[in-house]
């Protein structure tokens, strides 16, 4: 804690270290009229650099939180007389401020419930994996959009047109893009039977590299490596609307037989879906972006809704290992629905019986 009386009109100036950073508390204006106080930080490593303005305090008692992790010296500048006069930069003595805590790495107890949830999920996953191995015919409900791939490819082959496939905006760190690439592999395997070209414009260079590998592998697995053309999987632009206009232009010029939009989409979703519709192509979309789903449902012939996209590869391959993971998700969905229903019933009863309300509070605290 530091008290500064050298600055005229400033009654109190405290510097305190908290978990989030450094708090600077200022109280002024009781004895002398102070307009404002600006707080700066000078970078110790680059002393020639102009001090960074952290903020200007205009209320008589206010605080400022410095979250910058740069080691530096705090400076203040006090303004008086409608900001006509100021004190210039005055360095603050911060020797009494606790040094930053060298935080030892430890388990974050606030995430215990998440850890338990993940461990439960993983355990159930392995149990179902064992069950799937002994009984490979586990039931998964029909997904219309994936069943329609054959129809779309067949129609395109009859028309002698290409297919346009896009995974939308984002890199391979996005799970939806990875799921889109798994569907791409299946589409390529189907198209290789009829020698239908698949054009894939990309928005991200890393996705481009992964997509090229997927396409090459799919042609190789279907015994037609000669059909692979590196130029069919290409980089368009990393700009959102540039990408949308580029893909839309391709749809209008080439009039593809089918358009697949499987991955992650933002505002460009409707531009792509409407252009696919106008070009006369069979349009199939799949995204986990909930805000864009209504647009796809309105404009596309088939839509994979939400987690159907993640389930796509398991649905297509029917690999028991993959099916087990889908089943685990389904079990957890059922469990969540049961917990939510129980919570709703108990919360309703608690209106009449306060003791039940305590049980609801415990439930909420566990799940929070």
């Amino acid at each position: 804690m530091i008290f500064l009386n050298s600055l005229l009109g400033v009654d109190k100036l405290e510097i305190k270290r908290v978990d989030e950073g450094v708090v600077i508390l200022v109280k002024f204006g009781e004895k002398l009229r102070v307009d404002s106080i600006s707080v700066f930080k000078a970078d110790k490593l680059n002393p020639r650099e102009k001090p960074l303005l952290l903020g200007t305090l205009i209320y008589p008692e206010t605080l400022l939180l410095d979250t910058t992790k740069v080691e530096g010296e705090y400076l203040v500048r006090v303004y008086y007389g409608k900001e006509k006069f100021d004190t210039g930069w005055v360095a603050l003595n911060t020797s009494k401020v606790d040094p930053p805590k060298t935080s030892a790495i430890s388990f974050d107890t606030s995430k215990t419930n998440i850890l338990i949830g993940i461990l439960l999920f993983t355990t159930l996953f392995f149990v179902l994996l064992y069950m799937a191995r002994s009984n490979p015919k586990l039931y998964i409900r029909r997904i219309g959009g994936l069943d329609a791939i054959d129809e779309a490819v067949g129609r395109t082959a009859e028309m002698g047109k290409p297919i346009i496939y896009t995974t939308g905006i984002g890199s391979v760190d996005n799970l939806a893009i990875l799921a889109g690439l798994t569907v791409l592999k299946h589409v390529i395997k189907k198209t290789s039977l009829y020698e239908v070209p698949v054009l894939m414009p990309n928005n991200d260079p890393l996705t481009l590299a992964a997509a090229r590998e997927v396409v090459k592998e799919a042609y190789l697995e279907s015994g037609r490596p000669d059909l692979y053309r590196e130029n069919d999987v290409f980089f368009l632009t990393s700009e959102q609307f540039g990408f949308a206009s580029g893909v839309s232009g391709m749809m209008q010029r080439l009039k593809p037989g089918a358009v697949f939009m499987m991955g992650y989409f933002y505002a460009e979703s409707l531009i792509l879906a409407e252009n696919a519709q106008v070009s006369g192509a069979i349009s199939t979309a799949g995204t986990v972006s909930i805000d864009q789903l209504p647009f796809f449902i309105a404009s596309c012939d088939y839509t994979l809704i939400g987690d159907e996209l993640y389930a796509a590869s398991a649905y297509i391959s029917r690999n028991p290992l993959e099916v087990a993971s889908i089943k685990t998700g389904d079990w957890f969905k059922a469990l969540s629905a049961a917990v939510i229903s129980l919570g709703s019933i108990l919360a309703t009863i608690s209106i009449f019986n306060p003791q039940v309300g305590e049980i609801v509070k415990i439930m909420v605290n566990i799940l929070k």
Binding site: I105, L206, L208, V214, V288, A298, S313
Partner: protein, 261 residues
């Protein structure tokens, strides 16, 4: 090894990310990993540039879309040269008065805004398709969407009762007139129903009912958005969350390999 190597890297990275998520004080390690990812993606941009140039060069060679590909290549190189010039002339291509920023503000931004504004027209055409009352579900969607749209406009307290009255009148009129192949008691019932609905349209215009409906439209809109819509959304988020965990586990354990060669 060509296959096992990348899978091993994925498994180790996934385990590393999962473990650091549960550790307090490991934020710096996570930030460092993020910086590494950004640097790698920066290098990958060269791959994109290579693909872009080759694709359009090949298009020109093959005589496909020569004009578009030509314009793109010229724009690409002119922008790069312009950027370097602005760097040399103004110290940074992004300096406020640099010619590169002029190019950005006067060429790129209007083009981007144009594409974005086209969305409004696409929304209208998609809404037309979505709101056609082809079945009962589509009818519910049409009514709900209409209520929300009216509830969000200025003077909704006047517009909503008026719109409801017009809708009821038209629906009643349609029921009253559309009596082909109906005879006897069925015809009488249909005519009665049509008249009843039309009567409802006039009832809505009575001042106390008009005021009640107008005064509660915003409450109804908020309820629709925060209760039924939110419930559906949360259900989807829940499904998505579990779907993501399942998909991530498949990748982590090397079960899902279709993204790799």
């Amino acid at each position: 090894m060509q296959r096992q190597g990348p899978i091993a890297v994925v498994i180790l990275s996934a385990l590393f990310a999962t473990i650091t998520f549960f550790l307090k004080g490991a934020e710096d390690i996570q930030t460092y990993a993020l910086i590494v990812a950004i640097i790698i993606s920066g290098f990958a941009l060269l791959l994109g540039v290579d693909s872009l140039i080759l694709y359009h060069m090949r298009n020109i060679q093959e005589g496909k879309n020569t004009l578009f590909s030509g314009i793109l290549l010229i724009s690409f190189f002119v922008t790069i040269i312009w950027g370097f010039f602005a760097w040399w002339r103004y110290g940074s291509p992004f300096a406020q008065n640099s010619t590169f920023m002029w190019l950005f503000i006067n060429v790129y931004l209007p083009l981007d805004a144009t594409m974005f504004s086209i969305l409004a027209f696409y929304i209208a055409s998609a809404a037309y398709r979505a709101f056609r009352a082809r079945n009962f579900n589509a009818l519910i969607l049409l009514i709900t969407a209409s209520v929300i749209m009216i509830g969000r406009v200025l003077y909704s307290d006047v517009v909503f009762p008026l719109a409801l009255s017009i809708f009821l009148f038209l629906a009643g009129l349609w029921t009253f007139i559309n009596t082909r192949k109906l005879y006897g008691s069925e015809l009488v019932f249909r005519r009665f129903l049509g008249g009843f609905i039309m009567g409802g349209a006039f009832l809505v215009l009575l001042p106390p009912i008009f005021k009640f409906l107008g005064g509660n439209i915003s409450t109804l809109t908020d309820w629709l958005l925060s209760v039924p819509q939110n419930a559906a959304k949360r259900g989807m988020y829940l499904g998505l969350g579990f779907g993501q965990v399942a998909f991530a586990l498949r990748i982590m354990f090397g079960i899902e390999r279709s993204w790799i060669r």
